[in-house]
């Protein structure tokens, strides 16, 4: 277990030492969301209607940008080999990295999302559900993204390949996440969508660290 915490601690420390990195995911989120009023035109009604969708899509794309370095640096400098032959289960190593990733990018995205909601004229009664859904959603995205990152490790142009692998797999997150917010805005309960997201999260927690571990072992080979 000491290795587990050492790994989480190290990744967070690296992220904090370059604090601007964490900021950047958020700023990308903000800018990408801000582009839409330019592209679509600033009519408040249209924007408010699109807000949940834009929020989720841009959060996803922002998270996507952070994945390509999740294992890449460790892979390039030989740390990954050492993690693979460290005397602790590899899925625990993978889980530690995933948790560190969520803490350094998922959490900031979560914190930033209400701000973007305001920018996009999201209706006030959507905010509570937005945050709940985002919490579940970003965790799923971290898990699935890590799996994609591990699978595409060592490939050429892993960044784009990664998007190709991850985006289709997180489509359900998008549908139910945006659906939950839409429901809340419309005044309906969003319980069902949130339950589905919770179920997806549980499934991912079971499958992804294991898949990551297999993929990482392959990558080191």
């Amino acid at each position: 277990m000491s290795g587990f915490f050492a790994l989480v601690g190290r990744d967070i420390r690296i992220a904090l030492r370059q604090f601007s990195d964490t900021m950047m995911v958020i700023v990308f989120f903000v800018i990408a969301a801000a582009l839409f009023p330019f592209g679509v035109g600033p009519e408040p009604n249209l924007l408010a209607r699109m807000a949940p969708g834009i929020l989720w899509v841009t959060a996803l794309l922002a998270a996507m940008l952070s994945f390509d370095r999740l294992f890449q640096n460790d892979y390039d400098d030989g740390t990954l080999e050492l993690l693979v032959i460290a005397p602790q289960p590899l899925w625990m190593t993978a889980l530690a990295k995933i948790i560190a990733h969520w803490l350094t990018t998922g959490l900031p995205l979560l914190v930033a999302s209400p701000v973007i909601g305001i920018m996009l004229n999201l209706e006030p009664r959507g905010f509570g559900v937005l945050i709940a859904a985002m919490a579940l959603g970003t965790a799923i995205i971290s898990l699935v993204g890590a799996l994609g990152a591990a699978l595409s490790l060592g490939s050429r142009r892993s960044g784009v390949l990664l998007s190709l692998l991850v985006l289709p797999l997180v489509i359900p997150v998008l549908i139910f996440g945006a659906g939950a917010v839409d429901a809340a805005i419309g005044g309906f309960p969003a319980t069902q969508q949130l339950l589905v997201l919770g179920g997806l999260l549980l499934g991912c927690i079971v499958v992804c660290p294991w898949g990551c571990a297999v993929a990482l072992r392959l990558a080191a080979d």
């Binding site: 693979v84 460290a86 005397p87 602790q88």
Partner: protein, 228 residues
């Protein structure tokens, strides 16, 4: 060659990279306190063999045992008893020298002495510098400090002296001698003489296969009829 119940050994090892057999039919055995040096020209498979020994890659044939147990049987037990230093340095430029070392030490069980290790490789004065400020040789020394920070009876070193100055090479040699005096085993690949006089040497060039196509017909190396 007999398999040593108390040492590190491998029999009938073969390594395949991109469909090509690099070496085959390789046996080795080292007993406690022993040293094995892998030599051979560039591309003969020294690094590949070390990666097999470390359990990073799987041999295409044959198996490797630690104290009589195949390493694939209980890998974690084996990993806990082994240090591997490859071509690449596993050093994070953003972390300080000490943080880098502590991280690697925390991944492993057993007692840890960071300061002694840094002292031993003459990096104590640079301990709180970010690793990005190190020169090639200093970085390599930081990598080698890893094997001194936590104890392990087996050291696998891939060209450990690369980029080191003569003083650092002397210190490394001293560390290796101490390790062996305590019953440790060392396997090192190298292109320059390491100065371990009583080491067994395996010349990888002697294990290059004669016909090395995986898919070929045994005698001619031609594809078999039915594929065409």
């Amino acid at each position: 060659m007999v398999s040593h119940m108390d040492g590190f050994s491998g029999t009938g090892l073969a390594c395949v990279r991109s469909n090509r057999i690099v070496f085959a039919g390789l046996d080795f055995a080292v007993s406690p306190g022993g040293a094995l040096v892998l030599s051979g020209p560039n591309g003969s498979g020294k690094s590949s063999l070390l990666r097999l020994m470390a359990g990073i890659a799987r041999p295409a044939a044959g198996n490797i045992s630690w104290q009589g147990t195949p390493i694939s049987e209980d890998p974690e037990m084996f990993f806990a008893r082994m240090h591997y230093v490859g071509h690449r340095d596993a050093v994070k430029p953003a972390l300080t020298v000490r943080e880098n070392l502590s991280f690697h030490a925390a991944l492993r069980p057993g007692p840890t002495d960071i300061n002694a290790a840094l002292d031993r490789v003459d990096l104590a004065a640079l301990a709180d510098l970010p690793a990005r400020m190190l020169s090639a040789g200093q970085t390599r020394r930081l990598t080698l400090a890893r094997i001194l920070a936590t104890p392990a009876p087996l050291w696998l070193l891939d060209e450990p002296t690369i980029a080191l100055d003569y003083r650092a090479v002397d210190r490394l040699r001293g560390a290796i001698d101490d390790h062996r005096a305590g019953g440790g085993i060392i396997v090192a690949s190298t292109n320059v003489p390491l100065g371990i006089d009583d080491a067994t040497t395996i010349d990888l060039a002697a294990h290059a296969p004669e016909i090395d196509a995986l898919w070929g017909d045994e005698s001619t190396g031609e594809p078999a009829e039915d594929v065409r």
